[in-house]
């Protein structure tokens, strides 16, 4: 009975959505904000990657919000999973261990590259941070008896998050609005350009990386504790 009701609800909902989207005029939607930003961003922000200009410039507060949402989810996860138990398990085989040893530096470089070039090429703090987290988690798959130092992870996480806010507050203390980009724009497309945006992305990358790494460690520890 319950399944039928759910099915009816879903059917009705998808029918409604189809009717709504069916009535929309596709082709040339009004692009008031989109066009405005495309015209203003190169001179106003100075980031070659316009997506970054939006993410960290025009909508920087939303990014701080997203960062906080991830932090809230990790904190809530920590609350549910409890404090970490010891890790156990047999070490991986030769191929796994050697592969991880080879991959670790490469992933570290790739992650940092994606973070540092966020204002120039596709990518940025969130994407690079995930690569960094995976880089630090891989060795734990090969050598389960070792563990990452949680104290360090939480210190990096806290300081990186605070650095993002501090960069915003610095603008406030100069008499400008919160999160106004600092410093000169520099040359469009150069590595050191678009003011404080790369610094913001570095903070995002470190925070996301540390957060995800500690969440992965926590999840894997609990998994093995249960089995």
């Amino acid at each position: 009975m319950r399944n039928i009701a759910t099915l009816l609800l879903l059917g009705g909902l998808s029918f409604l959505l189809l009717v709504i989207t069916g009535g929309l005029l596709f082709g040339n939607p009004p692009m008031l904000i989109g066009q405005g930003i495309q015209q203003a961003a190169p001179t106003e922000v100075g980031a070659a990657n316009i997506v970054t200009a939006v993410v960290l410039g025009y909508r920087g507060l939303d990014t701080l919000g997203e960062l906080s949402i991830l932090f809230a989810a990790a904190t809530a996860g920590g609350l549910v999973l409890g404090s970490t138990r010891g890790r156990s398990g047999r070490p991986g085989g030769f191929i796994l261990r050697t592969g991880v040893d080879l991959l670790f530096p490469l992933m570290l470089v790739a992650g940092l590259y994606v973070v540092m070039h966020g204002h120039l090429t596709p990518g940025g703090g969130f994407q690079g941070g995930v690569i960094l987290a995976a880089a630090f988690f891989l060795p734990l798959l090969a050598r389960p008896q070792e563990s990452l130092d949680h104290t360090w992870l939480s210190v990096i996480e806290a300081l990186a998050g605070s650095a993002f806010i501090a960069l915003g507050l610095a603008a406030l203390f100069e008499g400008r609005a919160f999160l106004t980009p600092l410093f000169d724009h520099g040359v469009l497309g150069a590595l050191v350009s678009s003011g404080s945006l790369p610094l913001l992305y570095l903070a995002v990358g470190l925070k996301v990386g540390a957060e995800l790494a500690s969440l992965l460690v926590r999840l894997s520890a609990d998994d093995e504790g249960a089995s």
Binding site: G36, S162, I165
Partner: protein, 485 residues
Amino acid sequence: MTDVTLAVVLPLLGAFLLPLTAHRGLHWLGMLLGPALLALAALLLFATWTAFESPYAIALGGFAPPLGITFYVDLLGLLFALAVPLTSLLLWPGGSDEAAIRQQSLTLLLAAALTGMALSGDLFNLYVFYELAAVASYGLAASSATGPAFVAAFRFLLISALGSVVTLLGIALIYFKTGTLNLAHLATLSERLADPQGLAAFAMLLIGFGVKAELFPVNAWVPEVYAATGKRVAALLAGLASKLAVLAVVRILLLVFPHDEARQLLLLLGTLGVLSGELAAWQARDVTRMLAWSSIGQLGVVLVAFSLPGKAGLIAGVTVAMHHLVVKSALFLLADRWGGAVDRLKGAATASPLGAALFVLFALSLLGLPPLPGFWSKYLVLSGLAEAGSGMQHLALGVILLGTVIEGGYLLRIITRLYAAPERDIVPPAHRFPNLFASGLLALLLVAGAILIDPLWQGLNTLAASATDTQVYVQTVLGGKGITR
């Protein structure tokens, strides 16, 4: 330096830094950090409130609206924003172990998100803060770490996730049709949304934000979560978080959807909320569930009030919302140790005379006994409905009156148990001092509201006059004056 953005940013900073104090020797700092930052945020907002002259907008990041995100500071936003740090401070979860620190972090995140919702002038930014508040609420709902709490939090998560997806679809629909997200900019384009698709978009936003506002079809999580978590968390969610979700809906209604159909939809769902909430509360056998269902009914009244057009509707809505914030928070605090069946409350008044007396005071104000503020708030709603005059509004009026009668029935049921003779000398436990103290403060606030009715009325009138004036909002944000960059 009285920039209101600090009221959002400081609690966020505190939440990020708080986990560091879990390490040796910093416990004292951890105990102080959260309350100090919340007090600072409250002071800051209070200073802005007292120095307030005319509404202004803040262009965050220095990008002129409508391209960048704006904060809009007016009396309505400031009133709700000020309520956030004050209530979170009052309901602050103490403690210094690892779990307590996590819970405090989440409380700070919730406070930051709710303050942001009160001030934000951008549709998507509103959604981001709403999402942050939602994720922090899941964590808080699970924070008592019992089996039922996990189940309740998980169900809350599922319903809320559905709401988030629906909201996002609604925002996408609005963006597709107008090409902008800034509320002031949307206000100038609102005739583009005056068609069935626009109404559908409003319905989606209403359902989405409604999950936290305990709106009628999406409130199934409410009784379960409030029964299973700590009562301070329940007070925070029922009293505070729901009001900010309502404020978001009201801002969107006033600025983006000034059409009659949107108001009718709000009125309909609000009326159904009153009816279903009060009837379910009548059926409930357990004090917390009863209060939870009753809170659904009360929020129905809030939504009905805000569905009234013009100044009268806004004044009525703000009054009912603020009254419910004070009363429901206090009632949950007082119900802290009164879990379980209503019949087990026999003799509670002998164990905790002050607590029982406060409970009676708040219950009577909730019912609307003059001269308590509850009477005035209900009177404003009912007279507004009677004046508005169409069939739907008269129906809502009847439903609210019926709801009040039912409410009287179940609240008196609790009160008679409180003052009944204890059975077999089993007396319910007395109140803990912090809860009694916090609800005592709220009682003072309630009594002060009853005495200062005249200045409050004046203040509400100026508040409503500027909040309902769409032109002022649009001029302030897009006209270029009143913007600080």
